[in-house]
Structure formats: C-alpha cells, structure tokens
C-alpha cells in the first residue's frame, strides 16, 4: 500500500515537473496541477495510511485515521484551486494581449523600448 502511494506521488511529481518545464503556459499550468496533486497526497500521507477508519467519531470506535493532515490538505486544495484559477486567467490575459502563449518571455528584449509601459 505504502509503496503504491509513494510511487504514485513520485510519478505525479515527475510528470508535473516535466510539464512545468514545457514552453507553453497551458502544459505548464497542467504540470503545476499535477504537482499540486502530488503534494496534496504527500501532505495527506504525513498522517500515515489507515484504511477504513475515517475521522468521524462513532460510539465504540477507537481507531481513527489522523484527521489533521486531512484538514491541511483540504485547505491546500482550496488554495491551489484559487491559485490555478488566477494563473489561468493571467495566462489567458497575456495570451489575448500578445497572441503568444509562450511561458518564456523572450519574444522581446526585456529592456527594449517596445516594452515601455504606457502608464
């Protein structure tokens, strides 16, 4: 069991990293989502694995899985959801403005006049 979960975390991380290193915003964002899955599961496992013992108090039941990591993961899921929405929006805005969804900002010299911000 532990091996399955750990290897799944590893696999998700690897795939996530690979996609994060791609050149377009869309795969990069997907990669980050994969990383988020990986880290959420990892964070969950920090309470170790217990099967069939959800942390819902029941009379006469004494073993529960560690509830704290679950709460933490829940928070993490929510936050990374917000983050994903934001990064998708910003990436979209950048694409709509420049018709270019490269994540690398090399289409222009960072200091050339055309980058001047009219403000």
């Amino acid at each position: 069991m532990e091996f399955l979960i750990a290897s799944a975390i590893g696999m998700l991380t690897a795939a996530g990293l690979y996609l994060v290193l791609r050149l377009r915003t869309f795969p990069v964002i997907l990669g980050i989502s994969l990383l988020t899955y990986a880290v959420n599961v990892f964070l969950f496992t920090s309470g170790r694995i217990t099967i069939g013992a959800p942390p819902i108090l029941r009379d006469g039941v004494s073993t529960y899985t560690d509830p704290l990591p679950q709460a933490l993961v829940l928070t993490a899921i929510v936050i990374s959801f917000g983050m994903t929405a934001v990064v998708v929006m910003i990436a979209l805005g950048a694409y709509l403005g420049s018709n270019d969804d490269h994540v690398d900002d090399q289409t222009h010299e960072p200091d050339e006049p055309k980058t001047e911000e009219p403000s």
């Binding site: 290897s7 991380t13 795939a15 290193l21 869309f26 994969l34 990892f42 694995i49 998708v88």
Partner: protein, 868 residues
Amino acid sequence: IIAYARSYLSRDDNMGEFFKYLLLFQGAMVGIVMSDNILLLLIFWELTSLSSFLLIGYWKHLPEGRQGARMALTVTGMGGLAMVGGMLILGQIAGSYDLSVILQNRDLIQESPLYVPALILILLGCFTKSAQFPFHFWLPHAMAAPTPVSAYLHSATMVKAGIFLMARLWPVLSGTTEWFVIVTTAGLITMVLGSVIALFKHDLKALLAFSTVSHLGLITMLLGTGTAFGAMAAVFHILNHATFKAALFMSAGIIDHEAHTRDIRRLGGLRSLMPITFGIATLAALSMAGIPLLNGFLSKEMMLEEANHTVLFNTPWLVPALAVIGSLFSAAYCFRLISHVFLGPVRDDYPAKPHDPPAGLWLPPALLVVLVVLIGVAPFLAEPFVKLVTGSLLGTAADVPKNYFKIWHGLVPALYMSVAAVVGGALLLMAYKPALRLWDAAPRPEAKVLFEGLVEALVRLAKSIIHPLHNGAFSRYGAVMAVTVIAAGYHAWVTGTVGDATRQLQMASPVAIAGWLMLIAATVGMVFLHRNRLLSLILIGIVGLMVSIGFVFVSAPDLAMTQITVEVVTIILMLLALNFLPNQTPVESTVLRRMRDVGIAAAGGLAAFVMAYHYMLRDAVTAPISEFHLANSYKGGGGTNVVNVILVDFRGFDTYGEIIVLGIAALLIYALTETLLSSNVRAKLLNRKPDQPRAGNEHPMMMVVLTRVMMPVVMMVGFYIFLRGHNEPGGGFIAGLIVSIGVVMQYMASGFNWASARLRYPYHGVIGAGVLIAGLTGIGSWFVSKPFLTSDFTYVRIPPFQEFELATAAAFDLGVFLAVVGAVMLSLESFSRLARRDNVEENKHAFDIDPSRDDPPNGVSPKTEGAS
C-alpha cells in the same frame, strides 16, 4: 573661497545648488579633521568623495564634467571602500574604533598579521584620494568644475585629506619597511611624474593640477621616510603649498574669467594688461619654484635635506637624484607659467579683452600671497604653529625635531641641489620647444580614455553576465530551481542518518492496484499526450477522479468530496480558457532539451517517492497533536466530523485565510477581466471567429428540461451537505462548490446571458458578505471576552423537528459557504464575459428548439434557412 565664488559664478548657474554641495563638502572636510572615531571619520571621508562628485558634476551639460565627476567618484570611491576595510581591520586589531585608542597601540598593530593588509587598504584609500601614483589620473579630469571648486578641492583640501590621514595614522603605521617602501616610492614617482606632465600642459588649470599632484607626491614622500624631521617638513610644505597654490588657482580663474581662455598658447603679455594679477601670480609661482625669500623655498630645502638621508633599495643616490629632477621640472613649469602667460608681447587675438578684475576677485589671492612672502621672509612666524601641528601628529611615536626654521642653513648639499634644480629648470624652459616636440612624440596612455574604456568594458561584461541569465526563460528558471531543491535535499539526506522503519507495510488490495495502475496510466498519458490540450484535460480529469477515489479508500471522505468538486470546477475553468487558447501545443524543444527535462523530472520524482516512502514507514517522534483534536472534537467543538471541526474551530484561522485567498482570486480575475475588456483586447474578442465551425443548437432542449429539475435538487443537496458538515462528511466549502456547480449547470443549459438576465446574483456582495460574516463570527467571541474565532454551541429543539445543534462554527461555515459560492461564480462569470461576441443576439428562451412554442404545423422554423 566662498566669497570668491559668488562674484565668479555667472548668473544663469544655479547658485543654491552649488553652495549646497560646497558647504556639504566643507562640512565633510571639517569632519575628517575633527572626528576622533574612525567610523565617523570614514563617514566624512566617503562624504568628501560624494560631495566632490556632485561639485564636479555641477556643470551637468558638459560631458567632461560628467565623466570627470564619475571618474573621481569611482576612483576615490574605490579608495574609500578600501579605506573602510583597512580602518575596520585596524579597529578590530586595536579592539576599538576610537582613534586615540588606536594611536596608543602602535606595537600591537604592527605585530598583527593583519597589519600589512590593513596598511595596503588604507594607503590605497589615501593614494586614490590624494591622487598619488598610480591613481594620479583622476584629478586633472575633475577640471571641468568651475574654478573656485577645483581651486578649493584640488589645491587646498580634498586631495590633502589623503595626506592628512596618512599623517594622522603616521604614529601607528609608519616606521615599518612596508610603509617606507610603498609610501616613499609612490611619493617620489608621483612628484617627478606630476611635475613632468605639468610642464607640458597647455591648460592653465591642468598645469596647476598636475603641479598639485607632484607636490602631494613630495609631501607623501616626506611622510614615507618615517622620520620626525620628514614629518615636520611635510607639515610645513602642506601649509606653504596651500597658500601659494590657492593663490595661483584663483589667478588662473581670474585669467580664464577675463581672457575667456586658459590655454597658455593663446595667452602671453598679460603683464601690462592685468598687472595686479601678474604680481600675485608671479610671487606665488616663484614660491612654488623654490626661490628664496618665499615660503616654497624653505619647505623644499627641508625636503631635499630629508631626501639626502633617505636610502631606498640600498642605492643612496636614488632618492636625492629623483628629488632634484622633480624640483627641476617643477621650477621649469613655474617659470613657464610666468613667462608664457604674462611676459612676452601683448597679443591682439585674446578671445576677450583682459583687464584686472574688481577687488572682489583679486583681493583673496592677494592676501594669500602676502602670507607667502611673510613666511618666506620670516619663517619663525610659522615655526610655532608648524611644530605644534607636528607634535600632535607625531604623538608619542617621536619627538618634535629641534631644528629652527631659517632661510640660511649654510652651504649644505640641499642648497646645491635646489640651486641645481632652479638653474636646470630655467635651462629646460629655454629648450622648451624641442622638449615639447619630444614629449608630444613620446607615446603615453590617456587616463580618461582608459577609464571610460574600463567602465564601458565593465558594463559590457556585466550585461553579458546578467542579460543572458535573466532573459525571461521561465523554463530554465524552473529547471534551476528544481535542480537546486533536489541537490539541497540530496545533500541533507546523505549528511544525515537513516533510522529503521517503525511501521509495518500494509497489503495492497487488487482494487488499490487497479486504481494505482489507472493513476499512473493517466499521469504518463498526460506526459505523452499533453500536446492535445483537450485530451490532456480529460486525462487530468481521470487523475483527479482517481485521487478522489483514493482519498475515499484511505478514509478521507471529506477530501474526496472536495477534490471531486474542485476538479469539476477547475475543468470548467480550463475549458472556458482553452476556448481562447490554441487547442494544440506545437513541438518546439529539441530532443536534447526534452532529455534534460526528463532527467530533472525523474530526479524530482525519485526524491518525492523516497521522501514519502521514508515518512510513511516511520512514526512521528512523539504523539501527533491530532490526538487532542480527536479527543476534544466533540467535547470542545461540538462536532463528530473531526476534519470539519479542525477546519472551522481548531484551525479556523487557516480556513479564514483560505476563504480570503479564494475571495482575492475572484476579485483578481474580475479586475483583470475588466482591465482586458477596457483595453484593445476587447475589439479582438468581439469579432473573434471560433477556430472551427460550431454545432447548431446552442441550448439543447433536453439539457434545459433536465436542469430545471436537477438544479433545485442540487441546491438541496448542497444545503444538506452544508448542514451536516459538522458531524458528517461535508461542510460549507463543499456545499458552496456544489451549489455553484448547480448554478453553472443552469448557465451551461440556457446560456450565460439568459440565466444571468433572469437571476443576477451580486457576486461581489456574496464574497464580501462571506468574508465579513466569517470575520464577524470570529469577532463575536470578543464580546464574551474570548479570543478571535472562539466557538460555542448548544442544542435546541423546536417541534416537530428533533433536537438539532446550533454552533457559532456553523455561522463561520456559512461565511465560508458564501465566500466560495461568490468566488467561484464571480470567476466563472468573468471568464464567460470574455467570450461574449457582439454578433450573437441574446437568446429569448431557455432553449432554442421548442415545437410547442413556435409551431407552424410541419412548417419551417426561422432558423432553418442557410443551414447545411
């Protein structure tokens, strides 16, 4: 000097600014002299460089001004930093930054291994500031500054700051061979070099500047000898030089001001035109040349005397010889100054008609010259002052020499030497023309060009380092970060010790293996199929589904529900975005690059695997705090769903932050949408053509009909999940997502326009209300003098309902619920507002095709013409 400057500067220059800088500078100089704490001294020291930068650069529009200023700042700044280093070392050795203390610890300092570095650093500072070889080049280029400045700066004070400091530290630093060799050599070379260059300068000020350099060299050399007599000579010469050089600079200024040129070749014959200036300048120049009865002569005698007793590199004749050569050239340029500027025939091609200036200009130099003569004739007047200063300089290191100041010492070698120098100088001037030709023929480096070149080269180098490194290549940034993290983690791992596993491995059921297989398959699929973006979205849907199921499997129903709902909303968001983005990701990176990325990814994956596996097989060092949560969730939190109690009670503060994150996300998305729609993007969006022909029937009937029943049910389920969250899986967050998805369902069925036209929620308000409710619930506990977010609960019974719980946590959860609904809906709304095109008219009805509505029996509906 200030008096002089006022009448000198022309009206159109900004006097205020100028005097601001000038006074700043003076303050700094005074500071250097006064301060007894070396840190304070350093401050003033740096301040002089700085203010001189501003002073020199005062005439901004002249490029020489700017470059001169920057060169001065750079060179002296560098020296200053060296000085900082040296001084701090000194302080560290002496254990105090008090100058008086440091001066007490001569032996301690000179025995310390850090003495040499300290000495070198400090001398670096002094030499740069006093323009000693090899840093003599910056001074003359500071010439662009208005005359009084350069006069003051260069002849009188700033450059002497270095000398002053050498003198000040003389007791602790001098007397060692390092000191002697470095200082004396630098001094001698500077003296000779300076005078030689000065002789061949045509710009009056340049000539004077280089002569200053040479005289500073002289003084340095005297200090370098390390004898008390040398020190006294130095002090005396400082005094004399200050007088005649300042006078000369002012005269130069006057000439420049009157004749509108400083080029010696264009001057001459001014004797008759401006007699007063002539008198002043001549006396000062002769003094500088070392003619008896003028103060220059006296200190020069002492210098030659000292030189006689100085043996450098075990060659007794070296120092005297150089000294003579130096003073020979210096005599030569003094004579040249007199003859080529004032003597000779009156010319008719001066740029302006020169005549003596008003007293306001010539009086100050005149006074100085009076001093020159006075001291020259009656040296004993200066003697007490000089000896006093020397005494304070020597401190405990040595006693003030007994020698009296007199004009006639008898036929000592020094006299022969100075006669030789003067005569030689006169002869050299007669042979000036050929000598000049020789000089012009001789190749020599132009300091300014070198400096500019150096700085530009530096800048180029810096650019070649910085710009390729920070060229916006995120993929490289990410790679660097990943590698860094992995490396640091690996280092931590190998330098640590691995304990034995304390937990048993659990058997994996076939179902778990199947789920694992699918997760892996989907993940790998993501990597190989990510170029087809829609497909990769479907795959990530699978990943999410599997993770959720996995959560159910490992007894985390709350997580599973959250994951799956978040999953759905995320996918909807991504689809909304993908609608604008290209549907394919082209192949761009080389195979090599992809190999590199695979390597990094594999390493990262391995690291994550090892970590996870390591921790899962070992227990925490002691019982985790969650035991408390399990034990007190019901007693103290009034809920049996411990996860939910943690979220809204034990760690409600996290949740508070979490919903705020969501709220911000929505506000941000909304704000950006507004910005985009008010920019040129709007037009682009309005007449955007779909990248492929769309199917007909925007709002299918069946979907709408279903939604009408489904949506209310979903709402109810959401409400249900919300209510029971505290005791069973569920809670405000999941409920919020469910409800929003219900609304989205409606949007998808009947379209955004139709749905929001019928029922418009003020999503901003919902978010704000949510966050406020959560916050106010927290504050509520203040009124029972409990900390923020302290929860309380009670059980009430209203027939016919059975007893149910009322908890403040529920109010907090309500805030969460509202914030989530508002955030999700506002984001989705913003996204879909981008998609509004102007050529689509708002649909009147919930769905397009409705025979019961528009039914000409077996007729043709308005939509049909023009269909394929």
